[in-house]
Symmetry: C2
Subunit: 132 residues, 2 copies
Amino acid sequence: MHFGYALRRAQIAAFDAFASATAGHPITPPRYTALVILEANPGISQSALGEVLGTARSGAMMLTNWLVARGLAERRHRPEDARAWGLYLTRRGKTLLGTLKRRVLDHDQRFGAKLTPAERREFLRLLGKLAP
Amino acid sequence: MHFGYALRRAQIAAFDAFASATAGHPITPPRYTALVILEANPGISQSALGEVLGTARSGAMMLTNWLVARGLAERRHRPEDARAWGLYLTRRGKTLLGTLKRRVLDHDQRFGAKLTPAERREFLRLLGKLAP
DNA sequence: TATTGTTATACTCTATAACTATA
DNA sequence: TATAGTTATAGAGTATAACAATA
């Protein structure tokens, strides 16, 4: 069995847990991650968002467009640089993220509950060695 | 740190290893997996291929079309069921898969070499508990 | 009626390239 | 010239729905 396959299978199972947690919302993993990043970095630029997400600028823009169209985030002009936007969660975005975070964390913990506490620690340590 | 994120990061690293192994070939993880499945199950039907891959029939068909268009696989009529095709690797498909398997396995082992042999065994055991 | 393959369609993710406005 | 954002385009993956041929 390849590492790649085994990892992929486990990650698909984790995606399933995420899908259960976000059922009823059109939220995908990248969108959820973007919300989390915006919450932790108010005023971040689109380019910086793309860098953190590990995607191209254009991808960050489409992601931002989607969030803005649904009233979850907003662009604000930066006085010090007319080229860049500052991105912020709206009240609605913060509320949704609050709800989703609880549900995602809950499902994540249930997913991890297949391991004992000691196994969880060891597993996360080994993941850290594989993807530093 | 969520399990989901940690797993995703490690899996992206594994995908990178796969990409290095298949550099120069337009082979993706699902295409590689399909080749492996066809090698192990000569004459398998498209529907069965889709089931093993965990995707819809239509996806298995587009995958098959791609392989057939490049001369890597072929469809043969089944005498016992005029509805279904039997799928087979061509000689060219077998040759390519042979080359790729060596390279993918090599990169997979290099990826896993970030862990000690004992850690590798434990890691695969824990992955098995998470995604049985 | 159920199944196989097929086609059409749609959405998401990702990437590159070219363009604009600004620095 | 370099950067931020934008737009266009493309490929890949995945899914559903409807259809014809066959079982």
